[in-house]
Each structure stands twice: as structure tokens, then as C-alpha cells.
Amino acid sequence: MSIRRFFIIEIRRVLRSPALYIALLLGILLAVSQIVQYVFHFADINKLELYMDIDFMFPHSVLTSMMGFASGEWQSYALVEIAPLLAVIPFANSYYLDIKNGYVKNLYTRASKKSYLVSKYIVTFLSGAAAVAIPLLVNFLVCMMVVPYIQPITGTALFGIPFQTFWADLFYTNGILYVLGFCGIYAIFGGLYACLSLVAAFLVNNRFLVQLFPLIVIMAGSMILDISKNSLYAPRMLLQMGQGFSISGIRILLIIGALFIITLTYFWRGAKNDTI
């Protein structure tokens, strides 16, 4: 069987898995709670039309109201904190279970290990990416249905993105691309979190530990970074669309690169693993 054939089988498995929909539901509940708690309130303020009477007042818009931008909101922080858990719910322990219940033996007799391992990695990545990024996209979409999208203006001190920060130019020229770009970053992190569980399949012998592995790695890694006074490298600091903390593209690339290299050990261990 080719990689493509395996990919279709794995995609079908993940789409039929209730776990995917549970993960999406949890994330979307978080996103919708932000809309209910904050954005509806902002829409009510907009109805007063104060921006028409007061100089230098801007109506509440998508880029001041959605997750990551609204002042005082907690949901964006919660999403970042639970991302390692959300990402693994849909499909991340499937490789471990495939080994445990002997499913891989059936596959390895029909096709190459490589095809199976590659397609498993891609589908696990996509499932994790979807679980983390879709809630953010839903929040963005619903937010646009409640408050207007108005292109932010620089030099007003009204918008959360200060000058000389990561993608500030993009924010002030095309805010939608900025949000979609950050959704992409969230998706990559979510995908890599899920793929960490593939590595865990060789390290631990418990399905729950396999699922908790990314959370443990991220928490331990963040703790080490905090202690070594490099907390700006921690994923929770990088996944800040509102840029409450200093973000740099290099730091994001470094952490993505490090996580990617860790997940690549799955191929090495997977190829060595003599299931049959």
C-alpha cells in the first residue's frame, strides 16, 4: 500500500473518531465562552455610538475584541495552556493503540513500515493542528458576526500591537492575514504537540501517559526555560496573538524546530521497532 492509501485510511479513521469531535467541542466551547463573556458586551457598547461623538475613539472591532486581543480575557491563555491536551485527544494515541492491539502487524504484512509511519505522522499532525487552530478560527469568524472588522490604524495607542513587534506591519496593513498567520502558528504547535505522543509510544507503556506526554514535556520545558531565565522561549509566551509579551520570529522558529526534531525520533524508533 502506498503512503496515499494509508493516508486516506488514517484520515477516515480520525474523521470517524468521536475523540476528534470531543476535542473540537471543548476548544469551540472555550472560544464561544469568550464571545459570550466579552464580545457581546463590546457589541452593546458599540450600539451607543460613542465613537461618533468622541474624538479619537474607535468602535470595538474584531482586532480589539477577539481571543488574544480583548483586555482582561482569559480564554486565549487557557487555550494556550490546554493546547498540549487538546491536540492529543483526537488521534495522538492511535499509534500506541495500533501497536498494542496488533493492528500494525496486519498492516506491516501488506505494506512498508515507511508508508504507515509517514501517513500516521501526517494525520496525527493534522488532527492536533485542527484541534488547536479551529477554535481560534471559530472565535474569529463568530467575532466578525458580532462586531465589525475595521482595519487598525497605527500611531493611535488604541490597538494592542506595539510598534517594532512581530508582524506589526502585517497587523496594521492586513489584520485578517495577521490573524490567519497566527492561526497557522497555533496549528503548527498543535500538530507538533500531537506528534510528541507518537514518540511517547516508545517511551511509556500506558495509553494515558502517552496522551499526557506532550503536556509533561511542554510543562517541564517551560519550567526549565523559566529557571534559566529564558521564559520568552516558552510556547505559552510565543502563542500570544495580542503580543502581551515580546515575541520574535526567530524564537518561534527555534521552538518549532526543536519540537520537530524531537518528533522525528518517532521515525527512527518506528523503523527500528520489530513489531513482527
Binding site: I8, D55, F56, P59, L141, V147, T154, G155, F163
Partner: protein, 177 residues
């Protein structure tokens, strides 16, 4: 192959159309942004008043002090905004206003300077000259002082604008410094 299901495609299409209509409706409730650009020396109408930005230049601490009678107040301002240190500079913008009243003067204090129209750059209003403004309309010159932070940018590479309105009409004056 994964079987394509028309039922789901139709439901998805209906959802997308409903979302699109709702987004379009919400956006339609708000006036569209409009941008008006003026140049230094050009007269323009602002709140039924004729306004002209006469000059804009960076000034020294001494020049700022000369505008105030109470020197201790100036010292406090300088200390607060650290104008002397680093790459912070003080920009003085002189505006000629016809029929200036106290109310309009208060509104002028909200005008802001920005470095460039898009992209990076922000600055903050620091102080305005203590001018005795009464409710009696009079033709007056007002000088506003702005603190400009060049910590992370080169002042030669940026254009300065004085923003007089923001929404729904974004109106600003391009400054020649």
C-alpha cells in the same frame, strides 16, 4: 477514496452563506473609514474652524522652558518623559486656529503625532503650552509638544503626521520637519 457527500457540502455551503450575510450586515452598521490628508501650511476645516499647521520642529529643553513661566513644572515634565536621555526628542508643532474656544482647545490637546501612516510608529502627546483660552472665540496660535521615541528607529527614515481625527474620518496633516 473518501466518499464525497453532497448532503454535508450543501449544509456547509448554507452555513458559509449565512455567516457571510451576517458579517456583511454587521460591517454595514458602521460607517466606512475615510482618509483625508493635508499638508503643513495648508488650511483646512476642523469642527467649523479653520486650522493651519504653521511649523513643526524639534526643540531643546531651553526652548520648552522659555514657553513656561514656572520652570519647576518644565523640570517635572522633562523628568517624567526622560526627554534628555536616550533617543527621545521633543517635537513642537505650531497650529494657527481661527475662532478658538476653550472647548476646541481641549479637543486639540487630543491630537497625536505618529511616525508614518502605516506600519510601525507611535508617539504620545506630552503637553501643550499653557495658553489662556476663554470661551470667547479668538484667532490664536497653539503650540503642541510631543515626545518622540527614536529608541528603535531612525528619525530620517520615517514620515511624521499629525492626526486630527480618527474615525470614521481619519484626517491627518503631513509634517515637514
Amino acid at each position: 477514496m473518501i466518499q464525497f457527500k453532497w448532503r454535508y457540502a450543501i449544509i456547509l455551503a448554507i452555513l458559509i452563506i449565512l455567516c457571510g450575510v451576517r458579517i456583511y450586515y454587521v460591517a454595514g452598521q458602521f460607517p466606512e473609514e475615510e482618509t483625508i490628508v493635508w499638508h503643513q501650511g495648508e488650511s483646512f476645516s476642523w469642527k467649523d474652524t479653520n486650522v493651519t499647521v504653521k511649523k513643526s520642529k524639534f526643540v531643546s529643553k531651553e526652548e520648552l522652558c522659555s514657553r513656561y513661566q514656572d520652570v519647576s513644572e518644565v523640570a517635572e515634565i522633562l523628568e517624567t518623559y526622560n526627554i534628555e536621555g536616550g533617543k527621545l526628542k521633543l517635537l513642537a508643532v505650531t497650529i494657527e486656529v481661527n475662532d478658538l474656544t476653550y472647548e476646541k482647545f481641549q479637543d486639540i490637546l487630543y491630537w497625536r503625532v505618529a511616525f508614518g501612516v502605516t506600519g510601525n510608529g507611535v508617539s504620545y502627546l506630552t503637553d501643550a503650552v499653557h495658553t489662556d483660552i476663554t470661551d470667547e472665540p479668538a484667532n490664536r496660535e497653539v503650540t503642541l509638544f510631543f515626545r518622540c521615541d527614536f529608541e528603535s528607529m531612525d528619525e530620517d527614515d520615517v514620515d511624521f503626521i499629525l492626526r486630527t481625527q480618527l474615525y470614521p474620518i481619519q484626517e491627518y496633516v503631513e509634517l515637514d520637519i
